[in-house]
Structures are given as structure tokens and as C-alpha cells.
């Protein structure tokens, strides 16, 4: 841990030698309430109405404690990798930081509005890629003038026009890789204070992955903080200098990427 304190990377911005925190996670607990999985009768319109009237909780609700008391601080200019086995709470933690999931205990403090970029971000499939890009930009709060300027850049960066004019075709005709690339291009079009990336880099082809890694570096240079969730240790190694290892909703290790990744790989039984 001493390394983390002593070797501040050159990309990390400071005021009077102090690092500027952008995300502070303070003893956060997140509990999911899972509906369904009950008998067919429990979901009938009649019982739904009854619950509606009596405000009683559904009998089939089960609670899943996904994040159990996570505490850390992220600084401006840092790129932090989040690793851990499936179901360890990585995506949940990202959603909580993005303010999309309320915490049950503890708090998350952020500078500005963090943006979550995930592969499950669905735009309107019946519309063309260009229209989706324009819509996405407006949804991020850009003005129509900025949008007009940004959309060609987004299409260019996503590379969906490399095989002909796909930008004007509906998104339902895209391959999963193409739409993932477009989504990444849209979300990364704006300089976010905090950018949260959930497995997004894993989908593109090798060339796009290189380009997106370059974009992540650019975003960091724009004094933002980047969180990256990925199962591809290689991607984490290349883009992040700090890594947090989450296991069963608890931080198992937090430190420089090489050390944490080594311990993680030992834990998972090698590659």
C-alpha cells in the first residue's frame, strides 16, 4: 500500500501537492430486492391490485446483499480497474457511483455527474446510427449546435462507416460489435468528470480496442477519472495504474495494478 501513497502518477492532478478527490465511496452497502421467481398466482392482476391497495410487499421478494461496506477514494486523473470474479458486485458498485442505484447504507460523493458506459445501454433500434448519436448527445445535455458538430466525429470514431454507409441504416441491422462501438463512441464524445466503463472495451475488434484505449487515455488527460470493469486482465494492465479487487461485495485488495493483478491471478488459479 505504501507505493500508492508515495508514487503519485504524473497524470494525477494536484493542488498544493494534495491530490484532488473526484469519487469518495464511504462504507457503501447495496441490497437488491429481487422480484418474481414465485408462483404464478403471485403475479396475477388481482393480487397486484391488492398489493397496490394494501401497499404490502410481494411475498416473493428476496434480498441480495451485493456490496457490503466498500470504502475508497479516487483522484482526478486516475484510471482505476475493478476486477473480481463474476457476481462480486463490480457492476453494482459502478451503478451506485453513477447514482443510478441508491445505497442502503453509507454514501457516495462525486464531483460532477459520473457517466456509466455499459454494453447493455440500449438506444432506439429502429433509428439510424446517426440519429441515435444525435439523441445520445442531447441526452448528455449538449446543445443542438454542439450535437451537429459532434455527430460526424462520433460516426468517424466508431468506425461503423468503414464497410459502407452504415451510419444511416437502422441500428437493428448492426452487429453486436458495431452497436457496442457506437455506444462507446457516443458516451465518450463528452468530457466527463468521471467515466465508468463496464466491459465496453471487450466487444470491439482488435483495431477498435486500440482506438478506445487511446480515447480512455485522452479522457484521463482531460482531468477526468476513469473506472474500468473488465475480465480481460490485459486491458486493465494497459489502461489502469490502480486496481481494486472486489470479492463477494468486499474490497479484497486496493493498490497498484501489477501487485493486485498478480494476487488476483494467483487467487483464480493462474490464467
Amino acid at each position: 500500500m505504501a507505493e500508492l501513497t508515495n508514487t503519485v502518477p504524473a497524470s494525477v492532478a494536484t493542488i498544493n501537492g494534495e491530490r484532488i478527490p473526484t469519487v469518495i465511496v464511504d462504507d457503501v452497502h447495496v441490497i437488491y430486492r429481487v422480484h418474481g421467481a414465485g408462483t404464478a398466482g403471485a403475479n396475477s392482476p388481482a393480487s397486484a391490485l391488492k398489493r397496490l391497495v394494501s401497499r404490502a410487499p410481494a411475498p416473493t421478494v428476496r434480498e441480495v446483499h451485493a456490496v457490503k461496506g466498500v470504502t475508497f477514494t479516487a483522484y482526478r486523473g486516475e484510471a482505476i480497474g475493478l476486477i473480481g470474479s463474476n457476481g462480486s458486485g463490480k457492476s453494482t458498485l459502478l451503478r451506485t457511483i453513477a447514482g443510478l442505484l441508491p445505497t442502503n447504507k453509507g454514501a457516495v460523493y462525486t464531483q460532477g455527474q459520473p457517466s456509466l458506459l455499459g454494453v447493455n445501454a440500449a438506444l432506439l433500434n429502429d433509428l439510424s446510427g446517426e440519429r441515435n448519436a444525435a439523441l445520445g448527445c442531447l441526452a448528455m445535455g449538449m446543445t443542438p449546435e454542439q450535437v451537429k458538430q459532434k455527430v460526424p466525429e462520433i460516426i468517424e470514431f466508431s468506425g461503423i462507416n468503414e464497410r459502407g454507409d452504415f451510419g444511416s441504416l437502422p441500428m437493428r441491422t448492426y452487429s453486436s460489435g458495431m452497436s457496442a462501438r457506437l455506444r462507446f463512441a457516443i458516451s465518450s464524445a463528452k468530457n466527463h468528470d468521471v467515466l465508468l466503463i463496464d466491459e465496453a472495451l471487450a466487444t470491439g475488434d482488435r483495431r477498435f480496442r486500440r482506438r478506445s484505449e487511446q480515447r480512455v487515455r485522452e479522457l484521463r488527460a482531460g482531468a477526468g477519472t476513469v473506472f474500468l470493469v473488465s475480465h480481460q486482465i490485459g486491458t486493465i494492465r494497459e489502461t489502469c495504474e490502480r486496481t481494486i479487487w472486489l470479492e463477494s461485495g468486499v474490497i479484497r485488495m486496493d493498490g497498484p495494478t501489477p501487485e493486485v493483478v498478480e494476487a488476483y491471478e494467483a487467487f483464480m488459479g493462474g490464467k
Partner: protein, 299 residues
Amino acid sequence: MANTAVADTGPGLSQAQLAARYGLSVAGKRPTLAAYTRQLWSYRHFIAAYANAKVLASYSTARLGRIWQVLTPLTNAAVYYLIFGVILGTRNGVPNFIAYLCVGLFVYNFTSAAVSGGVQAVSGQLGLIRALHFPRACLPLAVTLTQFQHLLSAMVVLVGIVLVTGEPLTVEWLLVPPAILLQSIFNAGLALGLARLGAKMTDLKQLMPFVLRTWMYGSGVLYSVDKFTENLDNPILVNLVHANPLLVYIELIRHALLEDSPLTSAAPTLWLYAVGWALLVGVGGYIYFWRGEQEYGRG
């Protein structure tokens, strides 16, 4: 282990104190009502673009494209004309029954579509909600705006029908825009309120068709509600029937467009009801939706 991150910023500071020192705010905290309204205003371009996109997307696979926006109400009117005008020859004591029916139908459709769209406005767009940050009220408002566009094309058809069936063009037609405006506010509030309910109770989507059909029968779309009041002894129930917001908006537009359409209440009373409902549901629905703002991503 995690404590090291705190240690280098100054000893003795808790995470919350550190956040306060650098002016960090709690993630996903609900803004005040005024701030939320300002945010929403700055997203007006998104609302308009999203509503447009929805209209476009709904016709994207049809060969005739947006022509359906006019064809749909026209076909609707043709079906009712065939059944009630030609086959049954219904009059119900109404001078211009076809125009009477079409006004009722198109105005009802505006609210009905906003309601069924509103229920799914949040629950059907979880992907978008979990991906991007914007005031969630954009979604139900866009639904209302989409339906408003449909209503406008239906109104063009309606004006044609009303004129063809021999109604004169009068000054009273100027009352149509304010009536539609009030109904739009009412619909927006309804869509907002139902969007929050629908986000939590996914069963609501299955219930809505029945609720809407009941509402249609209670709003004098196909016949005058005077038939109800003849059979109801209780004056409270009669008042309840007359205060039905959908009935009020239908009657107002009938009153404006048609010469001799019978009214259930006096016109000033109807306007009073119309304004009251618009304010109550519009403001109420907005505040109710705002109060759930931080919860919508949970699904």
C-alpha cells in the same frame, strides 16, 4: 487497506469530511424541485428529439412511413362511419352523429395513448436510463409530445370530417387550441404519475387496457352520458360522472367544433373543470414523479 487513500490527504479526515472539503456532492441525490425544473428545461431539445424519434421509429418498418399518421385516424373514422353511420344508422338524438363520434374518439385516443405510453415510459426504457444521465421526466413528457403530434394529424382529419358533414366554420373554433392545451397538461401529468407507478408495478401494464376501456365507456365517446345519469339516483354519482376529466375535454371540443352538440354541463362549468383537472393532475403528477427521481434506475 482502503484507509491509505484517506491518510495522504490529511490525517483525521473522515470520508464525508473529505467530500465536504473538496465540494463533492452525494451521487444520485435528488435535486430540488426548482433545480429539477431548470434541468428539465435545458433538456427540452432532447425531449423534442426523442418524441420525434419515437414517431419516426414507430413507422420505420412500414412502407408508407409517416403517411400512416394521417391514415390511422382516417381509417378509424371510416370504420366507425361504416358501422354506426351506414349499417346501424345511429343518431342517438345527436344531429351530426359521425362528427360527434369522431371528436369523442380522437380526443379519447389522445389521453388513452398517453396513459398506455406513460405506464411504460420508464419501465420500457431501463437501458437508456441505466446508460445516460438526464432528468427522467423527459421520458413521460416525450410520450405525451409524441401523442400530441398524433393528435395534431388526427385534428386535420377531424376538421375535414366536421366541415364535410356540414358544420359551419365559426369563431368558437378558436376554443379548440386552449382546450387541447389543457388536455395536454392533464395528459402530461397523468403520464408522469403512471410512469412512476409503472416503474415499480410492472403488472400495471396488463391492467391498463381494462382501466382505459372502462374510462372510455364512462366518458361518452360513443353515446351521451345522459344515459348514465338517467339510471343513477344518487346526485353525488351524477356529479362524479360529469366531473370526469376525459368527458370534460371531449365535451369542450365538441362544443367548439359542432353547432348543436348537447352538453352535459354548462360551458363555463366545463372550462372550470378543465382548468382544475389540468392543474391538479399536471402539477400533482410532476411532483409525484420528481419525488421518485433517484429510484428509476433500480428497475
